[in-house]
């Protein structure tokens, strides 16, 4: 009994990637996995929400429309603060990024249907570093391509801040390049580690509950404490799901600001 519970309660099991439809292409594994399924679900959820919000738009907005407008306004204000009004050309990208990460984080917090097969358990795509790193690299690629397209070689002024004394000119560009290279890494690790840590803590506390309940009636009532703790952590995770999507979007727009105004 306890051995079976212990194997079920492994906190890392929820991050396993499992094939749903197995596909091979010239020796490469391109299977449709549970990660693909949950990314697809979150894209569909965002699309349905935005279509419902903008469908039959009225002068006096209904519930759905005002929710959509509030999100739009929120991201638009944030981007305008970070990049100025010419930064609004990045708005479609930043808004997509925010909505995708937010819905991935949020949908990953849904409870799993008890008894469903392992491949269909609730899964958070953003708890995998390859997903967050890919998103971060999209931001950096847009920054580099647009920066060189708009400023030409003047974009390299990004690495030489104005007002540096001449005898520091060998050191400052070096530091600036290291900080530039660490940008996608820090973006990726922040989101991934937040999601990983939050979901692990939730499952570890859930493991405490089952272990205490299995230990018999003498100590079984103590399970109420990890249960209350789990509720508190779940509420915190709802906040973190929003905050990390917001932080990812805000840092992306601060970085994209460098493409618009490279000399700082």
């Amino acid at each position: 009994m306890t051995a079976a519970l212990a194997t079920l309660a492994g906190p890392m099991e929820q991050f396993e990637i499992l094939d749903i439809i197995h596909l091979d292409l010239a020796g490469m594994n391109i299977s449709f996995t549970n990660a693909s399924l949950w990314m697809l679900i979150s894209v569909v959820a965002v699309s349905v929400f935005m279509f419902a919000a903008t469908n039959r738009a009225q002068m006096v907005p209904g519930k759905m429309q005002s929710a959509g407008e509030a999100l739009y306004q929120f991201i638009a204000d944030m981007l305008r603060d970070a990049c100025g009004s010419e930064g609004m050309k990045f708005f479609p990208y930043i808004f997509t990024l925010f909505m995708f990460i937010f819905s991935c984080n949020l949908l990953g917090l849904w409870p799993t249907i008890p008894g469903s097969p392992h491949a269909l358990h609730t899964f958070t795509p953003t708890s995998h570093i390859i997903v967050t790193f890919a998103l971060a690299m999209v931001t950096i690629t847009i920054l580099l391509v647009y920066g060189f397209y708009k400023n030409g070689l003047g974009f390299l002024k990004l690495f030489v801040p104005s007002g540096v004394p001449w005898w520091l000119l060998w050191l400052i560009p070096l530091i600036e390049i290291v900080s530039f290279v660490s940008r996608p890494i820090s973006l990726a690790i922040r989101l991934f580690a937040n999601m990983l840590a939050g979901h692990m803590i939730l499952k570890i506390f859930a493991g405490f509950i089952t272990a205490l309940l299995a230990a018999g009636p003498m100590v079984g009532w103590l399970a109420i404490f990890p249960f209350l703790g789990n509720i508190a952590i779940f509420l915190l995770e709802l906040l973190v799901a929003f905050l990390q999507a917001y932080v990812f979007a805000i840092l992306s727009s601060v970085y994209l600001n460098d493409a618009l105004h490279p000399s700082h």
């Binding site: 890392m12 944030m78 603060d81 970070a82 820090s186 690790i189 922040r190 580690a193 937040n194 990983l196 840590a197 905050l243 917001y246 932080v247 805000i250 840092l251 601060v254």
Partner: protein
């Protein structure tokens, strides 16, 4: 020493920098609140900077967490 035991001790030591991240986060929010109570009208305009500082400080702690996880599960 057993390798498994050494791993556990190493992961525990790798989690120590979380104390520093906790102190840093506390300092960020305490100084924001100090400033916000002195000049409440300027507080709303600095929310973005607050969250940015929060995210950058939190990253230090998360690096420690990732190192601990790598020691436990990957190495």
């Amino acid at each position: 020493m057993d390798v498994e035991a050494a791993k556990m001790i190493g992961a525990g030591i790798a989690a120590l920098p979380l104390a520093g991240a906790g102190i840093g986060l506390g300092m960020i929010f305490s100084s924001f609140l100090t400033g916000a109570f002195r000049n409440p009208s300027a507080a709303a305009g600095n929310q973005q900077t607050l969250l940015l500082g929060f995210a950058l400080t939190e990253f230090t702690g998360l690096l420690a967490f990732v190192v601990a996880i790598i020691i436990l599960f990957v190495v």
